[in-house]
């Protein structure tokens, strides 16, 4: 069964490096990887994610008594992801690379915004890009001639990027002399908020056509964002959005977020964003 929607269609994610030819592809068997535990007595347990197992059999008590135990625990459910994210963070820190997790709804203009950003940074701050989508390498193809190495992650059915996908993508990227890593997450305002990727900062994009109350509808993704970039500013008038109310709603959810209004198409407002990148990579 698939990890996320239970559709019975297991599809592992794929990493497609976009620089160099031919593009090397490899798959991660996300659905059946084996996995080993060693307990305090040195017993080894190997099992796969999809085979429910009862290790308890190894410890059966004889004698027909029936006891009940309460275990007090404080274990994060995403502990595996969180640990891998910390490893990514350490790896990137050691290399002096600032990673930016860019999240938004589908169609907010992440790829256009990123293409413009890479153009403007081209001769100044070397960058690399990881792009996540359910299918196709179209977005990565749009970014590959902007002077930055690009890796496309196709997640199959998974609605977000996770730390393992980033870790595998990093192996495929030539990061020599890179200072910035842009991670274009899967277009989704819900699920990516639960997954730390090891980024230095999260930036949320929202286009003027999305309405002013989106931050109130999807608070987890906005909360803790370093910046909220309001895109498609050239459509501001046509969209009829109440700009002040949008700004108020963003700050209601994410008190410290800097709001940057841009049009990647006309270039308006982009210089403040570029300044933010300059400050972050100093």
């Amino acid at each position: 069964m698939c990890d996320d929607c239970g559709c019975g269609d297991p599809k592992p994610f794929k990493i497609i490096p976009m620089q160099g030819t031919p593009a090397k592809k490899f798959q991660v068997a996300a659905h059946a990887h084996e996995h080993e535990h060693v307990d305090d007595e040195g017993n080894r347990y190997i099992h796969s994610h999809h085979e429910p197992h009862a290790h308890g059999e190894k410890h059966e008590h004889g004698g027909g008594h029936n006891h009940l135990q309460t275990l007090s625990l404080h274990q994060p459910l995403l502990i595996k992801n969180d640990r891998l994210a910390e490893r990514n963070r350490g790896f990137l820190n050691a290399k002096g690379i600032v990673a930016i997790n860019i999240v938004s709804s589908p169609g907010s203009g992440k790829t256009t915004f990123l293409a413009k950003t890479l153009e403007m940074l081209r001769d100044e701050i070397p960058a690399a890009v990881i792009v996540g989508d359910l299918e196709t390498a179209n977005d990565a193809a749009r970014l590959r001639d902007k002077g930055a190495p690009v890796v496309q992650v196709t997640t199959g059915t998974v609605c977000h990027l996770d730390a393992e996908m980033i870790s595998r993508s990093l192996e495929e990227l030539d990061l020599t002399d890179r200072r910035l890593l842009f991670i274009e997450n899967v277009g989704n305002l819900v699920c990516p908020s639960s997954y730390d990727l090891g980024e230095a900062m999260r930036v949320v994009l929202i286009s003027v056509t999305e309405g002013e109350d989106k931050p109130l509808k999807y608070p987890p993704i906005f909360q803790g964002a370093r910046a909220v970039v309001v895109t498609k500013k050239d459509l501001l008038e046509a969209s009829g959005i109440d700009r002040e109310s949008l700004r108020r709603n963003i700050h209601a959810v994410s008190h410290h977020a800097e709001i940057i209004e841009v049009s990647a198409r006309t270039g308006e407002g982009m210089s403040r964003w570029i300044d933010l990148l300059r400050e972050s990579t100093k």
């Binding site: 009862a54 308890g56 009940l68 309460t70």
Partner: protein, 116 residues
């Protein structure tokens, strides 16, 4: 819809805890879900019902408690714990700032038994 994969991780974690305890069956599982964890408790329950069969938690009861978050008002400074997400101070209508909690997503307690 990432609740199914989160629940899969949870069941794996629960099985590991069961093994360490020396017991054979999981009777009760308690989770704590923060306001800003990005997870919908109803979807977690649904995922649990779908995934539990065939595991040691097949007959277990799942309890999900929402954990409160501490907010302070940006205007009057008043601090309060809230169980649901708020944006406005009930006293002075100033903006609330999250101070503590919210993103937790934890397995907090399990009741396990031996079935011999």
């Amino acid at each position: 819809m990432h609740e199914v994969s989160i629940m899969q991780d949870m069941l794996q974690l629960a099985e590991e805890n069961l093994r360490k305890s020396g017991c054979t069956e999981i009777r009760r599982i308690k989770l704590r879900v923060g306001l800003l964890s990005g997870v919908v408790p109803e979807a977690l329950s649904f995922a649990f019902d779908v995934l539990k069969s065939g595991t040691s938690a097949a007959n277990a009861i799942l309890e999900i408690e929402s954990s409160p978050s501490l907010f302070s008002c940006g205007e009057c400074g008043r601090e309060s714990w809230y169980e649901s997400l708020r944006f406005e101070c009930p006293e002075c209508h100033g903006g609330l700032i999250l101070q503590q909690g919210g993103t937790d997503l934890e397995l907090t307690q399990m009741e396990v038994s031996s079935t011999d």
